[in-house]
């Protein structure tokens, strides 16, 4: 690639879609883009293409060794198990593995692979947005619930984290409010449960207390993660 690219070598629409996906627009422009996405499928597609282009970034995880409480939270968030002694034995095994591996993501995935063999296979998303704001979400498709464990989320004094489910159509649907200090289990509304499947994206935005009242994110989307089955 040469450095002779014209500044205007993408159409304005596409640039706005990219800016929206990147989360760089000021609130008014962001709201305008969202209104446009709702009525203009072509524009909405441009946005989802950009979200896909940027999505590998969400897989970038700063290496964080999980504290023991993270494992307790994951275990508490998963559906009740009848094989509890086996579960705990295995958790300690995976805890050791995870710390040795040195990455939070590897550890979570390992634990969930094992747990997934006990219950109906859950869908998992690590919701990432850089160094200090991570959640891990587990969707129990049989119960229509999503359990969200805060891993390294730094609470904000004035805003609350809200979870969104983004199906392949690119339109965010509100799921519920999260907490930075404890696991939250949310029940997916029936019409939303159908969207909780592989390759849908979970996103977390910062919203005023009580959450967004518009049905769409009003604050910055600070973290995203794609649902994967294990």
């Amino acid at each position: 690639m040469t450095d002779t690219l014209d500044h205007n070598s993408l159409p304005e629409d596409e640039l706005i879609a990219a800016e929206y996906a990147l989360g760089v627009l000021a609130e008014a422009d962001r709201a305008a883009a969202e209104a446009r996405m709702a009525r203009d499928p072509g524009f909405a597609r441009l946005v989802s293409h950009w979200e896909e282009r940027l999505s590998p970034w969400a897989a970038e995880i700063s290496e964080v060794v999980p504290g023991p409480q993270v494992w307790d939270r994951i275990a508490a968030a998963l559906p009740a198990q009848t094989h509890s002694s086996g579960l705990w034995q295995s958790l300690s095994f995976w805890r050791g593995f995870g710390i040795a591996a040195g990455t939070f993501a590897a550890a979570c995935v390992a634990a969930l692979i094992y747990l997934g063999t006990l219950a109906q296979q859950p869908l998992v998303a690590t919701i990432e947005g850089g160094g200090h704001r991570h959640f891990v979400a587990t969707v129990d498709t049989s119960r229509g619930t999503v359990a969200v464990v805060p891993a390294a989320f730094s609470p904000d004094a004035t805003r609350v984290p809200e979870l969104w489910l983004i199906p392949p159509d690119g339109k965010p649907r509100p799921v519920g409010l999260l907490r930075g200090d404890q696991t939250v289990t949310l029940t997916l509304p029936a019409d939303l449960a159908a969207f909780a499947k592989k390759d849908s994206v979970l996103a977390v935005s910062l919203e005023p207390p009580g959450g967004s009242t518009t049905g769409l994110p009003t604050g910055p989307v600070i973290a995203t993660g794609k649902l994967t089955s294990l």
Partner: protein, 57 residues
């Protein structure tokens, strides 16, 4: 994506990362990197154009 990011100028990369990971808007980024908002906008747009061209190669 990672390979393509390597092809960006360091200020462009820093601006994109600040937007994506920290939820910064143009204004936030301009304040953080101490440049006018218009400059920040052209850095980001230029970076997005380069990124798309690279990803489509």
């Amino acid at each position: 994506l990672h390979g393509c990011l390597g092809g960006l100028a360091s200020h462009e990369r820093a601006a994109l990362r600040g937007a994506f990971f920290d939820g910064n808007t143009y204004e936030d980024l301009a304040g953080r990197m101490k440049v006018p908002v218009g400059t920040m906008k052209s850095w980001i747009r230029r970076a997005l154009i380069k990124l798309k061209a690279c990803l489509e190669q």
